[in-house]
Amino acid sequence: MSAPQPLLSRAFRDGVVAALIVAGLGFPVIAYRAEPDFNNVLTLNARWPLFLTFCALGFALRFLLTLWTARPRPLRAVKAPEAPVRRPWLAPLGLAALIAYPLLMPVLLGPQAALKWVDTFGVQILLYVLLGWGLNIAVGLAGLLDLGYAAFYAVGAYAYALLAPLTGLSFWALLPVSGLFAALWGFCIGFPVLRLRGDYLAIVTLAFAEIVRVVLVNWDVVTHGEQGLFGFPPISFFGLPFIPGPRGFAAHFGLKFAAVHKLIFLYFVVLALALVANFVSIRLRRLPLGRAWEALREDEIACRALGLDTANIKLTAFALGAFFAGIAGCLFALRQGVVSPSSFTFNESATILAIVVLGGRGSQWGVALAAALIVGASELLRQLDFLKMIFGPDFDPAQYRMLLVGLAMVAMMNFRPRGIVSTRQPTITLPAAGVRP
């Protein structure tokens, strides 16, 4: 047997190997960039400093990793799992903060500066929370990986954008209609495919989402193609439009007109609907249907052996998830004012799925946190202008958003497959011995 290598030389060797691998991975793709020149002929621009930086990073990370894993570790007693701390005050406090947030922002920042805060960090995050909770019903509870969630989102958005000018109905009437349309689509798509095994189901939902998107792009007469639909009626406060002038919301309540009023109202609508989604999924989890979903997620064969109608149970989860996506789509149309196919690409489905995966499939708190994290992080990336000074003016940090989302999904599956908040209580447990339930 050979003598064990000294740690440093082993770490050094590992580091060199890692650097070589990074060099192989990055060789043409990082080291060169093909750009068309003045004659529109592709030419190569060498980027050796960047390439060498990556190799050095690979070396350094692997070197440190080897040293870190080889450090002497004292043996520690295994801790007994602690009883979960109950924090009954957390939910009311969080709700109070959520209600106070959009009202405080204009007071603190002024109505103009508050626009962005209420819109991006308020309405947008809540929309993603709503979508996340909706998808969580399919993915987290019933274990049905739905890669076409953006299609139902699109159905909701287009349902509102098409029906509002056509029927003249108000937003309150069309909100459930959009949801029902999406649920109907979920039902129609789910009906044939839900018999498939999990990963096939995922790919078929993906294919359906692409079909929906292609149709939206090409069916010019109805959807106006890539341009999308706009000019549909905006949200109003129970009939009072958010416009300046004597007939608007602001004048009626004796306020000074501000664009932020509309967003604050929209914020509360989205918040209320998100809470409904949350309430529905928490309650359903305690019903036989919800129990069946969770059982189905764990073991489909056992469920079938117990006589559960797996197709119906899956279909309800799928359609209910689609319903909330439709609702979210309607709200998205109201927020954006324009609905176009580019908002409903696979990237959108992947982002919502990443929210559910990051949050921990089945965990309501986790999904909400993950939605805030992803929206917050992508906004943060947009703000990092100082990086332009380091990497040159072409550097656009916002491009890295989906790259990081992808990496986060891989990392979560590998290291914390149960999500950031990995302490979801089982819905049902056996009573402890000697304690009557």
Partner: protein, 304 residues
């Protein structure tokens, strides 16, 4: 009739490329039972590697493009194989014992990462190269529409046929192929009998990536243009091909690829080219719903 013949030739060419990608899906699915969702993006990445190597050889070293293509093909195969090897180690290996959807979710993350990695490093626009190997053989002449067969198309179909034969031989006759088939049937038992399962799985990914790289290089040769979002749709179509041919079956993958290529080009010609993706995707859904074991596959029975 001439148009039909021409579309038939184009369809077979496109189908060969799908078939080569589909082999990667079908082999990985066969051995570890996961849908390697990132495979389409590996294909796209390989096309980019080929593009950059081609520019490197022709512009920096001044080789003629025709001569450069062979080293480009081999370079792209090696580098893409390294990529897929690393991807398997980083993203999938730890998940083998995890819950069922974990590898698929990880693969979706990897796919998102890869396409955005290329967007970030190479920009989101189309990259087009001047056409290579332009000779064509006119098959009919004098009519309103001349059917032509280009050297490129012959090359693509020939390469696919040769590679399929080579890999068929590898899987059927060599010890690697035997190990692969053993792992496919029962990984635990194969490990007990001395098959290095990890190594076999790694090799499967390497072979799949090498074939995807061939497809990527041929794609670049045929269409002369590639962009960073090009992995997604060909990826799904190649998966459709794998499913249609019967997942797990090598000749099935190529057969499925040809079928998809033909459906797509003929649909584009006779119905609507805007909706040709819809045709391919609907075919996927219809196949999975009515014929989940495909043309040449074995029925998949789920056991406890």
């Amino acid at each position: 009739m001439e148009i039909f013949l021409q579309q038939l030739i184009n369809g077979v060419t496109l189908g060969s490329i799908y078939g080569l990608i589909a082999i990667g899906y079908t082999m990985v699915f066969g051995i570890i039972g996961m849908v390697n969702f990132a495979h389409g993006d590996v294909f796209m990445l390989s096309a980019f590697i080929a593009l950059l190597l081609l520019l490197l050889l022709t512009q920096m070293l001044g080789l003629p493009a025709g001569l450069a293509f062979v080293p480009v093909l081999f370079g792209s195969m090696c580098l893409t194989a390294l990529w897929n090897f690393v991807i398997e180690r980083v993203a999938y290996r730890r998940l083998r014992g995890s819950f069922r959807l974990a590898p698929l979710i990880s693969a979706i993350g990897m796919s998102t990462f890869l396409s955005n990695f290329v967007t970030v490093t190479q920009g989101p626009n189309n990259k087009s190269i001047p056409p290579l190997l332009n000779k064509i053989i006119p098959l009919t002449s004098g009519g309103d529409y001349d059917v032509t067969l280009s050297y490129k198309q012959i090359l693509i179909v020939a390469v696919t046929a040769v590679l399929l034969a080579a890999f068929w031989f590898v899987v059927q006759k060599t010890s690697l192929g035997r190990a692969q088939r053993a792992c496919e049937q029962d990984a635990k038992m194969a490990a007990l009998l001395g098959v290095d399962v990890n190594r076999t799985i790694s090799l499967t990914f390497v072979i799949g990536a090498a074939l995807a790289a061939v497809a990527g290089s041929l794609f670049l040769l045929q269409y002369g243009v590639v962009k960073s979002s090009d992995g997604f749709v060909p990826g799904v179509k190649a998966f459709t091909a794998a499913v249609l041919g019967g997942i797990g079956s090598l000749p099935g993958a190529v057969l499925g690829g040809l079928a998809i290529g033909l459906v797509e080009t003929l649909w584009g010609q006779y119905f609507s080219s805007d909706y040709k993706d819809v045709a391919a995707f609907s075919l996927l859904a219809v196949t999975l719903i009515f014929m989940p074991s495909g043309l040449l596959g074995r029925p998949d029975v789920e056991k406890v």
